[in-house]
């Protein structure tokens, strides 16, 4: 490593610093610093009017550092429960996204070179309109007067079943979560699948593998890194999402993101909100790390 460094000319070294410098500063300013502030805030008492209680004050009033938010968190199963629920929603979203995105990504990757860019553009196209407008659009699509609801309830009615409400339900939340995050699964999968050498498939065919075997023994194992990065890109934002359950969710669709938001707004309890955020970060990192570990072990056998 050091030998390599010595070979670099001063100009190249400067370029290297300049190139890596701005992301480094960015991370420091917008990730490390707020993270540290959050950790510090979690050890404080909430202020009487919101915010944080002072670090030093007259004896008799609450001040200084404390572990009470962590005690509060662990003294009550309900917060673990809500983490678990968010985890399930995130996993379900990731899985559905994967199942829907894989064929699409494969289709794009196997299309003629000329049409690929156009198809990728189509995948990204929803981003051209605002995120919230697209969520509000689902309110109309899933509403009780909408064609979808009328058709479904007509069908259910024909079998003598109770009509269902699609809007304001866990179903609506899941639909919107998948809808919003689908491109994040398609794009990494596509970048991965596009890199595959078609010669490998020809070789497999020459060796007598049928279409299914070619996919399962060649394409799929090679695409595992793409699956992993796509899953991470979907899983992490879904874990923290609060706008979708807020807008489309029913009376029981509180996720961890909503709970954190509530701490900062309704309850004005910044320390506990910070604690929840830290727990969320730890949970997500832990989960992704375990998934990566499992992925790499499996990769060795493939």
């Amino acid at each position: 490593m050091s030998k390599k460094h010595a070979e670099l000319s001063p100009a190249a070294r400067l370029t290297k610093w300049l190139v890596s410098g701005s992301p480094f500063v960015f991370l420091l300013l917008f990730f490390a610093a707020p993270g540290i502030i959050m950790v510090l805030a979690s050890f404080r008492y909430p202020g009487e009017f919101g915010g944080l209680a002072p670090l030093t004050a007259d004896p008799g009033t609450l001040h200084g550092l404390t572990l009470e938010t962590y005690r509060f968190f662990f003294s009550d199963l309900i917060y673990t429960e809500i983490f678990f629920k968010s985890l399930l929603v995130a996993l379900a979203t990731t899985l559905i996204c994967l199942v829907m995105a894989y064929p699409l990504a494969l289709l794009i990757a196997r299309s003629p070179k000329r049409s690929r860019d156009f198809m990728v553009l189509l995948v990204i196209l929803p981003f051209a309109s605002n995120f919230l407008i697209r969520i509000y659009a689902w309110m109309i699509l899933l509403g009780p007067q909408a064609a979808l609801s009328l058709m479904l309830n007509g069908l259910l009615g024909a079998f003598g079943m109770e009509p269902v409400h699609l809007l304001f339900s866990p179903f609506a939340v899941l639909v919107a979560m998948v809808y919003v995050h689908l491109p994040f699964m398609v794009l990494p999968l596509y970048t991965n699948l596009e890199r595959h050498d078609p010669a490998l498939l020809d070789a497999a065919q020459d060796l007598g593998a049928n279409a299914w075997q070619r996919f399962w023994r060649v394409t799929f194992p090679l695409s595992l890194p793409g699956i992993f990065s796509g899953s991470v890109l979907v899983f992490i934002p879904v874990m923290g999402m609060f706008a979708i359950p807020d807008i489309l969710g029913g009376t029981g669709d509180m996720l961890i993101g909503n709970l954190i938001k509530e701490q900062f707004l309704g309850t004005r309890d910044w320390p506990f909100g910070s604690t929840l955020s830290i727990m969320l970060t730890i949970a997500v990192l832990l989960f992704v790390w375990v998934a990566a570990k499992l992925g790499s072990t499996r990769g060795r056998y493939a």
Binding site: P46, F131, I133, F168, F228, V232, P237, D269, A292
Partner: protein, 391 residues
């Protein structure tokens, strides 16, 4: 960990998308009031929020008010009268305003907080006492709205307008189903709820919903007895399966299009929903009613912030807003309650005679303003709220 290197390369390809989404969050979240506040608070945490209070050369009055809470004509007339400019800034939530001030925003002459938020500001000593000699029109205010527990003797505040938290409903549907609209029982009792299952929304607000439940149980809306809270929580959990959603923003639209028939909501919003429904030529109308058990009244008052550079102009503006004709314009615009007795004669008769905006003496008695909770109570309530949402 080799697998992470793949992520980084893929991340680069899609990096602009999340950043774009983040910025669109901020831009389009006017409807979705909490997000603005949330970002505010985050910024405070980052310690990076900064609002400059520049020295002003010309006459300017800085007004920090709710969204859509003053008529443009009223402002324009004041500007001609005082030969000054009214610079307006808006918030959509008391918490948003408090968070912004707590983060060090300065330079606002007048703020229009709700009672409990005002109490916070008073206790933080952030307000300037009023010079009542400069407010001859203060006599117009109905004494019932003066001398509240938040500001005894009105040392700091002048009532501006009020909102009630009550029942809003689709008149035709309620008549068709034969449901009462004068009692909280209609949103809490399964015998009524069965007929409107999935067609009800309640406010996504811990305090407001608990207040409705407490009122229905016969307690005070500001009751802080944990045993009473638990009863209210159980009542809410029992009724919850029948409700469509906890909603504090889009219920206006849902009422207007006829998807939702009954709401627990704010009087201004329900007034707006009816206006929209009539404008769209719907075959039904939306009305509101104060339940007989009582309801929450939120009184917004004008106060002078300590950092405001022009208290003289601010007092002049307050006195101007206390004139009946000016005050009435707001009520005519958004259907807000009006504490100004002199304004009544300028208010459109259909609004002035609406008992859900100007309640009669019998309902007036049961209206209550919410007191602020202390940090311990806030945390206990939040714990219950989480339970309500999760069960």
């Amino acid at each position: 960990m080799k697998i992470f290197s793949h992520i980084t390369s893929d991340l680069a390809a899609v990096f602009w998308q999340p950043s774009r989404m983040a910025s669109s969050y901020i831009r389009e979240h006017r409807d979705h009031r909490e997000v603005g506040v949330f970002l505010c608070v985050l910024c405070v945490l980052c310690g990076s929020w900064f609002v400059s209070s520049s020295a002003l050369a010309r006459d300017e009055l800085h007004l920090y008010n709710w969204n859509n809470y003053i008529s443009a004509e009223t402002v324009a007339r004041f500007e001609t009268q005082c030969a000054c400019r009214v610079v307006q800034d808006y918030y959509s939530d008391n918490e948003e305003m408090l968070a912004k001030l707590a983060a060090g925003a300065t330079g606002y002459d007048i703020i229009v907080p709700t009672g409990n938020a005002m109490e916070s500001l008073i206790r933080q000593q952030a307000l300037r006492p009023l010079d009542k000699a400069k407010l001859p029109n203060l006599k117009n205010i109905n004494p019932a709205y003066l001398d509240t527990a938040f500001d005894p003797g009105n040392r700091f505040s002048v009532p501006y307008a009020y909102t009630l938290t009550l029942l809003g409903y689709n008149v035709e549907k309620m008549r068709e189903l034969g449901l009462p609209t004068d009692t909280w029982a209609v949103i809490f009792e399964p015998e009524f709820l069965e007929k409107v299952k999935g067609r009800i929304t309640v406010l996504d607000s811990q305090r407001e919903l608990m207040a409705a439940a407490l009122k229905y149980l016969g307690y005070s809306a500001s009751d802080t007895d944990e045993a009473h809270w638990k009863q209210a929580r159980d009542l809410i959990i029992r009724a919850k399966p029948y409700w469509a959603a906890f909603n504090a923003s889009s219920y206006i639209k849902e009422l207007t299009v006829g998807n939702i028939w009954l709401v627990h909501g704010y009087s201004n919003d329900i007034f707006q929903a009816n206006l929209d429904a009539q404008k769209a030529g719907r075959k039904f109308s939306i009305a509101s009613a104060i339940p007989k058990q009582g309801a929450v009244l939120s009184l917004d008052s004008m106060v002078l912030h300590k950092t405001g550079p022009r208290p003289d102009l601010a007092l002049r503006f307050i006195d101007y807003m206390l004139e009946g004709s000016n005050s009435a314009e707001l009520t005519n615009l958004i259907g807000s309650g009006n504490p100004n007795l002199d304004a009544l004669r300028y208010i459109k008769p259909e609004i002035a005679q609406n008992p859900a905006i100007f309640p009669d003496a019998q309902h007036q008695v049961n209206l209550e303003m919410l007191r602020d909770l202390n940090r311990h109570q806030r945390r206990v309530l939040s714990r219950m709220w989480t339970e309500i949402k999760l069960r």
